[in-house]
Amino acid sequence: MNEDIMIKIENVSFEYSSFIDESIQLAVKDLSLDVIRGEFLVVLGHNGSGKSTLAKMINGLIMPSKGEIFVNGLNTRDEDKIWDIRSTAGMVFQNPDNQIVATIVEEDVAFGPENLGIPQRELRKRVDDALETVEMTEYKNHAPHLLSGGQKQRVAIAGILAMEPDCIIFDEPTAMLDPVGRLEVMDTIKKLNKEKGKTIILITHFMDEAVEADRVMVLNEGEAVMLGTPKEIFRQVERLKELGLDVPQVTELVFELNNEGYTFRDDVLSVEELVNLL
């Protein structure tokens, strides 16, 4: 298997039976994707498009109905390797309140590696390093419920980092945060990718968070309908709107201006780029 592939998803489907008529529904349909080591992949899609289902399959929390997923070459169906898979591809969830286990910040960060049976001295080092990376060292003896949303989410990230994963999957980590908390968490995620070389899969429905990704995948009704660089994806403003998604504000502005007869390039994503054009 190719060394550069962190996660290999091969023709994966996930079936569930509908509550209403017991018919078989597909949350994910015949999806294939290679996530490259060190890349920053963003997954977009409106509510119910199968994003969380996909994330849980990668983490081995649920099994695909069809197809295979390999994390670092390990098949998620291999029960003996499930702990390796979960500590290689860690997962951060949406609600920070519902993923913090302990009553003290550092105890919570230690929870994952404690489960892995890491010896105490190394455990201490991992916890301190992880808190340092997310810049929460000064809060290590605080009670989590007294922290802000952004701080809680960074503690949750530290808890995953302490397992020393190569890849981290974020399932809408900023959806419940205020704008300040969103920025804190996004800065942390970018830092993990750029400085620590972690492979990142970020699920979000904030388009602005997708701008700095290496690649963007758009899910619709469980199918991967678009895959490409942010520039390739966001220039297709009308297609995205059909899929019930927005585009970054700057792109939207350029799109409207072009409709009015201007002829700007259609792949402008950030304010700086727009300023340079003008």
Binding site: E107, F111, G112, N115, I160
Partner: protein, 267 residues
């Protein structure tokens, strides 16, 4: 409102009492409780008071904290006092209509009320000087020998930790829902008991639904963090006996041994 409730209130500090191994403190409190039930005369209470007083002053606990802890239980203390005062038979001191106070009743009621006060104060000294996490760790380690006969020591401790972790979150949520319902005209404070109970329904239903959703999400998150029960788990802050723990434990065994023996010495 509800946030003011402090459960298992811990009074942080750096005294030797705070630093003692939680297992030592739990065992000492158990001996303390046992000895209270062995004492049959008043004078060993002097030793008990001295014990409580020493801990309060060494741990630098404010007295008002201790007294606050007694208040919610005042009712039980008073009932105990009254029952013993009026229902003990013996040499009559005073007759108030149908009620009689005897000499033995007077002695017994004071004795029992003091026992209750000591019981509550002594146990609260444990929670005041021990952080919840240390307390659950201590309980887990003390119970672990009983794992062989099927006692789920780790699971019990994990449940306690999670409960302690979520109490503030759930209280906050109750507060939020209450305020939202009050803004829509709900009334939780007036009316008879039946009405009040009825008014609680729109509060409890969303609270329960949310609690189940939270439990489900937490379980998934714990699994994603490789949780698979207590076997093979290491701990960041492993409990370790130090020399002070041995010294304190040994002297407390002697001390409470002495108190217990008073029952048999003076008779």
């Amino acid at each position: 409102m509800l946030k003011d409730i402090t459960i298992g209130q811990y009074f942080p500090g750096t005294s030797i009492i705070h630093k003692l191994d939680p297992r030592v403190k739990i065992v000492v409190v158990a001996m303390f409780i046992a000895s209270l039930f062995f004492v049959t005369s008043f004078w060993p209470y002097v030793l008990i008071v001295a014990f409580i007083g020493t801990i309060i002053s060494v741990a630098k606990l404010p007295l008002k904290f201790i007294i606050k802890g007694l208040k919610p239980l005042m009712f039980i203390i008073l009932i105990t006092f009254a029952i013993n005062l009026f229902l003990t038979k013996g040499e009559v001191l005073l007759e108030l209509g149908p009620l009689t106070i005897t000499k033995e009743g007077l002695r017994q009621s004071v004795f029992m009320a003091l026992r209750l006060v000591f019981l509550i104060t002594g146990t609260s000294l444990l929670t005041l000087t021990t952080s919840p996490i240390a307390l659950t760790d201590g309980i887990e380690r003390l119970l672990s020998p009983f794992k062989k006969i099927g006692l789920p020591a780790h699971e019990l401790a994990m449940m306690m930790t999670i409960a302690l972790r979520f109490i503030p979150t759930l209280l906050e949520e109750t507060d939020k829902i209450m305020k939202a319902q009050m803004a829509r005209g709900a009334d939780f404070e007036s009316g008879n008991i039946l009405n009040r109970a009825k008014n609680l329904v729109p509060l409890l239903v969303p609270l329960f639904i949310n609690a189940f959703r939270r439990a489900d999400e937490l379980a998934t998150a714990m699994e994603a963090r490789c949780y698979r029960g207590g076997d093979g788990r290491t701990r960041l802050n492993e409990l370790k006996f130090r020399s002070r723990d041995y010294v304190v434990l040994a002297s407390m065994v002697v001390f409470f041994g002495l108190i217990i023996s008073t029952r048999y010495l003076v008779s």
